[in-house]
């Protein structure tokens, strides 16, 4: 479905003396159709930039991205626009990814109004909206509200409904639950799982939480300083990347057993970090 070859993105700053930040520095991988690839790494390692590159929301410095066999790095704007409905992104903060001046209903209707799904009658559009709102677990009464009148979890459902209206093949989910609380997070993620199975979506799931990625993914890619250092099945990554797991600190409430793992305790971690600050 997705093939990435030696993808690079360098951000430059400075007028005469150029400084480069190598956010994504030579990354290659592929994602199969219907698969969920988890992308983990500490904050600032280039996860989000990579996700945006895949949809060409930022222009790559070099490298190729093949989407279903088409090299999207070479596409002209017009052709890109034609292929974009097939790939969509769920952003970190649902509240700021919706237009505050658009009612929820208008928001979900936008793909239809733009004619992405062919010409539809007003009544048909309304029926489709009601259907979608129901699929993501919202009430019909929400259609006439504005984003600020809904909670973060509800807004993320609206984002999902809008994405389903477009019916894409590939979704990049960039920490979709970062700003939500535990129980809502569980609701949204199980909704994403259900929708993924129902519509056979391909997913890139970005997160820094190993436990979350473990639940959502078929394979995991580990990213460090702009490079993918390892990519493998979920359990194998958990075997070989203990450092990442202890980084995220094992939950004392965890149901998993981490017996033979040398877990950095809270106090150890604190001193370790202090030492590196010095």
């Amino acid at each position: 479905m997705i093939e990435v070859h030696d993808l690079k993105k360098h951000f430059s700053s400075g007028l005469f003396k150029k400084n480069y930040v190598k956010s994504v520095d030579g990354v290659s991988f592929h994602i199969e159709k219907g698969e969920t690839l988890g992308l983990v790494g500490v904050s600032g390692c280039g996860k989000t930039t990579l996700g945006r590159l895949l949809l060409r929301l930022v222009e790559p410095t070099s490298g190729h991205i093949l989407f279903d066999g088409v090299d999207i790095t070479r596409l002209k704007q017009r052709d890109l626009r034609r292929i974009r409905p097939r790939m969509q992104m769920i952003f970190q903060d649902p509240d700021s990814s919706l237009n505050p001046r658009m009612k929820i209903g208008e928001c979900i209707a936008e793909p239809f109004r733009l004619g992405l799904k062919g010409k539809l009658h007003k009544r048909e559009i309304r029926e489709r909206i009601l259907e979608l709102v129901d699929t993501v677990g919202l009430n019909p009464e929400h259609i006439n509200r504005y984003p600020h009148q809904l909670s973060g979890g509800q807004n993320q459902r609206v984002v999902l409904a809008r994405i389903l209206a477009i019916n894409p093949d590939f979704i990049v989910a960039d920490e979709p639950t970062a700003s939500l609380d535990v129980s809502v997070q569980a609701q949204i993620l199980s909704l994403i799982q259900d929708l993924k199975n129902e519509f056979n979506l391909t997913l890139l799931f970005i997160s820094h939480d190993m436990e979350l990625v473990r639940h959502m993914s078929d394979r995991i890619a580990v990213m460090k300083c702009g490079r993918i250092t390892d990519i493998d099945d979920v359990e194998k990554i958990f075997e070989s990347h203990r450092d990442l797991i202890s980084d995220s600190v094992i939950s004392p409430l965890s149901a998993y057993k981490y017996d033979n793992l040398n877990i950095a305790t809270v106090s150890e971690l604190g001193t370790e970090v202090k030492a590196s600050n010095r």
Partner: protein, 311 residues
């Protein structure tokens, strides 16, 4: 004696759609140098409860009950008296440092504000003290940092500044509203560590939905749902052996427990369900749960729960 004793506290907000019962008959005690956690999902009234205690509530709020702090009822104090207490005796670490800090004031000035007001320090002395406080929350290069603006700080650093502001006048009771929200794992642990250090001889009420953080920092926890306290007890009694079906569901929705969501949505606070407020989402709901409102009952030593299963 308890440092803080909240008795039958109500905080209601009149709105066009009706009365929002954000905090409904809450009882809560905090002892000297005790850390207490207040956990629950978004919109259950945690923050409103915190704001009610420090009386930073919207002026439209209708409050009833008693909030005894060192024996004085905070609800009877005048605004003037409350102002002299706030920041000095009781301080709050507000949620979301990015929006809580003033973007056009230097960080040092924001810390010095409380010092000049409550301790009458002059500009130079307040700045000196601000630098010391910044150092005490582990901000390196405090001398330079004190003259910088909030946008020059990272998320974790801003949280440290919030803690510094709160500690400025050495209060004896701290309310921390989601101090670890939006921080990555490592920064989160640093903040937890810092909060642990600074509250060694103070009392703290920490509002959070991060159960891991609660286990690391709190002695006792209160579980809140739809404006009510549903369960309270020592942190490991409650989180290790949860009794209320809601607490159990909340723990099971954690990623490390299998991400099993609680069915349904949290109820409206205008018109909460009759009987037990959790019954429409509860797997163990019985016929009586629909009509009768359960009372808080002590099931084990110091572990109380509001559920008919244990009545």
């Amino acid at each position: 004696m308890n440092l803080l004793d909240v008795q039958n506290l109500n905080t209601y907000f009149p709105t066009q759609d009706g009365l929002v019962k954000a905090v409904d008959l809450v009882n809560l005690q905090i002892a000297d140098s005790e850390n207490v956690g207040l956990i629950g999902e978004t919109g259950c009234g945690k923050t409103v409860l915190g704001m009610s205690i420090i009386r930073l509530q919207d002026s439209s709020a209708q409050m009833n009950g008693r909030i005894l702090y060192k024996g004085r009822d905070l609800l009877n104090l005048t605004d003037e008296e409350m102002r002299s207490l706030r920041g000095k005796e009781i301080a709050m670490i507000l949620q979301n440092p990015t929006t809580s800090l003033n973007p056009v004031l230097k960080v040092g000035d924001q810390i010095a504000e409380a010092l000049r007001l409550h301790q009458g320090l002059d500009k130079g002395a307040a700045k000196k003290k601000a630098i010391d406080i910044l150092k005490s929350v582990n901000i390196s290069d405090a001398i330079q940092r004190v003259d910088q603006y909030p946008h020059e700080f990272s998320g974790g650093m801003k949280e440290r500044v919030m803690i510094a502001i709160c500690l400025a006048c050495d209060p004896s009771f701290i309310i921390a509203d989601e101090p670890t929200k939006g921080l990555d794992a490592k920064t989160k642990m640093q903040i937890v560590q810092l909060l642990k250090e600074v509250t060694k001889h103070k009392s703290m009420m920490m509002i959070t939905h991060d159960l891991n953080v609660a286990t690391l920092i709190c002695d006792r926890v209160f579980v809140m749902y739809a404006g009510e306290i549903l369960e309270e007890g020592m942190v490991w009694d409650v989180l290790g052996n949860p009794m209320h079906p809601y607490t159990r569901g909340f723990i099971d929705s954690m990623p490390c427990r299998g991400l099993k969501p609680i069915k349904g949505m949290s109820p409206s606070l205008i018109d909460p369900p009759t009987g037990c407020r959790f019954h429409p989402r509860c797997d163990c709901a019985m016929e009586m749960c629909k009509f009768e409102h359960p009372k808080m009952t002590e099931a084990e030593n110091g572990h109380s729960v509001r559920c008919f299963l244990y009545a």
